[in-house]
């Protein structure tokens, strides 16, 4: 389905935020904001939910903890109990102190890498992916707001443009996408 997209460019994050607030209060749906650094407080305005990656990190960490425990119990107690200075080698619990460091390290390893991989996949930022920012200046010092006409069927194109022009934009661009 072909769609028209309006790109409004700002040169200040605060101006963009105020503009977004005004537009949203009129009922405009803002599809995306591109910025060179995180704009604090933009997410609730344009309706972006907080990420759940933290929960995933916790689950990955838990997996690591479990794997390390099960693994070391199997290696050191079930499969080949080693006699180290006569310490109890028939029970995991009696010897647990020696296993804490690796359990901790493995938990961190799984949580960190699991989360990082999920982050890359969810963002679709992977080696070889093409850049998708509408203007190369958005990674330098410009901020771009993207509004899709299909998502704002209640408003006319000219209405959107006049409203945008009132918010202190520096450039306005339009594109047809398929």
């Amino acid at each position: 389905m072909s769609d028209k997209v309006i790109y409004a460019m700002y040169d200040d994050d605060e101006v963009l935020k105020d503009g977004a607030k005004k537009l949203v209060s009129k009922g405009v749906k803002i599809a995306e904001v591109f910025s060179p650094f995180p704009i604090h407080g933009i997410d609730p305005i344009i309706g972006i939910k907080n990420t759940r990656l933290g929960i995933m990190a916790f689950i990955y960490g838990l997996t690591g903890l479990l794997l390390a425990t099960v693994g070391m119990r199997f290696f050191m107690v079930t499969d080949w109990p080693m006699n180290i200075g006569g310490k109890p080698n028939f029970s995991y619990l009696d010897n647990i102190l020696a296993f804490i460091p690796i359990t901790f390290e493995f938990t961190v390893l799984c949580a960190a890498h699991g989360m990082a991989i999920t982050y890359m996949l969810r963002n679709k930022t992977l080696p070889g992916m093409p850049a998708q920012n509408p203007d190369p200046r958005t990674t330098d010092d410009k901020f771009v707001m993207e509004i899709r006409l299909s998502e704002n069927a209640n408003f006319s194109e000219s209405d959107l443009q006049t409203w945008l022009k009132e918010t202190g934009i520096i450039e306005l661009d339009q594109k047809e996408i398929n």
Partner: protein, 468 residues
């Protein structure tokens, strides 16, 4: 937006805009490298290659080429390992612990400090690998089911904990560093003019576009990684200290080792950051971002951790007498007055006395003084490990086997070689990577930048914040 008191020194000097920050950081990457860079790179490469040669000779001949003997079976290899791991503690501390404490000054230095960390841990990792003698069997440290019977690696051994700790630390630091680099690579990609560099930075930037949702995830991932890396930093050097502390050798068998090693690691790591940063800010024209205030903050960290180290030395000395264990007492008496007295007193002077000079404000704000002290501290920290390791071993329970350690030229070559390789990596980093965390520095421009900080608030809250 955060407001900062006007009397607080700005972190970004001069009248910078977002675009200026991009320009300042990207220019050294896009311009031709200065002649000095080629000279330094050449020197580092030659030294590094000499080190590689020594390592190859060692692998071909055996660890007998080191200056070890029957009494001193562990010397420069482990000394260098602990020294490099210690240096590799500052980067993650700066980026993780200071992120959790919301210290904005870290943003100017975290990127290069993390790079320094990663390269230092590379160098550290070399030593346990080559000391195996048969490098190609290095995978035996992994818990793999093997054809030699169902014997597993020993999970009760601190040496195996080290394998897990160091590899986790290295890989997590690398991921943390790279995730921060992706948006900055995108900045370079979007500015690049030459097709080759455009292509390279496109690949490196993973197609980053700066969408709001991605930034939302980015911030959370950074925070959680910082939360994970913080205990990790402390665990790594604690585990390194267990290599000694869990043994029964007088001089090693001390419960004070974990906190003492961690403080020492941070101490030497910050010293290395100072050494590199003071040169880099000058060479790359980053004086507006890394200035006296940053140096002073780091000097305060050096002073605090140096004092912890000093306290630990003295506590150790006291306990060796107070414990009533004569072997323990002898180990320390021998350190201070035996044949290695010079190493002991070099360590004491460099690590206990020199950081105390940082109590004086003019000294800790002097760049030249800081540079000298940072090198002194790193020499002192190398001697600390040498003292702990060699002096505890060289006179054991049997006086007939007492001995001295004389490093061979291979010992020396491998050590100096790792310093060369470290600088090869660091110089390459400074040439091709954004040495400042662009996206992070931009977020503090308005709250801590000189021109914005003291300017009247033009953003609609003039009435409520007119006196900020």
């Amino acid at each position: 937006m955060h407001k900062e008191a006007a009397i607080r020194e700005p972190l970004i000097l001069g009248h910078k805009t977002y675009h200026d920050i991009t320009e300042d950081v990207c220019r050294p990457i896009e311009d031709k490298a200065p002649k000095m860079w080629y000279i330094l790179f050449g020197i580092a490469l030659i030294i590094g290659l000499y080190g590689v040669g020594c390592i190859l000779y060692l692998l071909g001949t055996g660890v007998g080429v080191w200056g070890l003997n029957k009494t001193i079976g562990w010397a420069w290899d482990i000394t260098n390992f602990v020294w490099w791991v210690g240096i590799g503690h500052a980067g993650t501390l700066i980026s993780a612990v200071l992120l959790l404490f919301r210290q904005k000054w870290r943003m100017a230095i975290n990127r290069s400090a993390e790079a320094m960390t990663i390269f230092a841990v590379f160098m550290a990792g070399l030593f346990p690998l080559i000391h195996m003698g048969r490098l190609w069997l290095g995978y035996w440290v992994l818990p793999l089911p093997n054809q030699f019977g169902s014997l597993w690696v020993n999970f009760n051994s601190p040496l195996l904990w080290d394998v897990f700790a160091i590899s986790t630390y290295l890989s997590v630091s690398l991921v943390f560093w790279y995730i921060g680099l992706i948006p900055d690579f995108a900045t370079i990609r979007d500015r690049a003019k030459k097709p080759i560099s455009k292509k390279m930075y496109s690949i490196l930037s993973f197609g980053w576009s700066g969408r709001a949702k991605h930034w939302n995830r980015f911030e959370l991932v950074s925070l959680v990684l910082a939360g994970l890396a913080t205990p990790l930093v402390f665990s790594v050097h604690s585990i390194v200290s267990f290599d000694f502390a869990t043994s029964v050798i007088p001089g090693w068998h001390t419960t004070i080792f974990p906190p003492y090693f961690v403080a020492g690691a941070v101490f030497s790591g910050f010293a290395m950051v100072q050494t590199l940063m003071l040169v880099m800010r000058k060479a790359m024209g980053l004086e507006a971002y890394i200035h006296t205030r940053h140096v002073e903050y780091m000097n305060i960290v050096i002073m605090v951790t140096g004092s912890i180290v000093g306290t630990a030395y003295i506590t150790e000395l006291f306990i060796s007498w107070y414990s009533g264990v004569e072997y323990e007492a002898y180990a320390f008496f021998n350190r201070a007055t035996g044949p290695y007295w010079w190493a002991y007193w070099a360590m004491m002077t460099c690590n206990v006395v020199s950081p105390q000079l940082m109590w004086f404000r003019p000294l800790r704000r002097s760049l030249l003084f800081t540079f000298i002290i940072s090198i002194v501290v790193n020499i002192g920290m190398w001697f600390e490990r040498y003292v702990i390791i060699v002096t505890s071993l060289h006179r054991d329970y049997l006086p007939s086997s007492w001995s001295m350690h004389y490093p061979s030229h291979i010992d020396l070559g491998v050590y100096v070689g790792t310093i060369g390789l470290f600088f090869v990596f660091f110089l390459l980093f400074a040439r091709y990577f954004p040495v400042l965390a662009l996206n992070e520095v931009k977020t503090i421009l308005k709250s801590s930048g000189e021109s914005y900080k003291n300017a009247p608030d033009t953003h609609g809250h003039a009435d409520s914040h007119s006196t900020h």
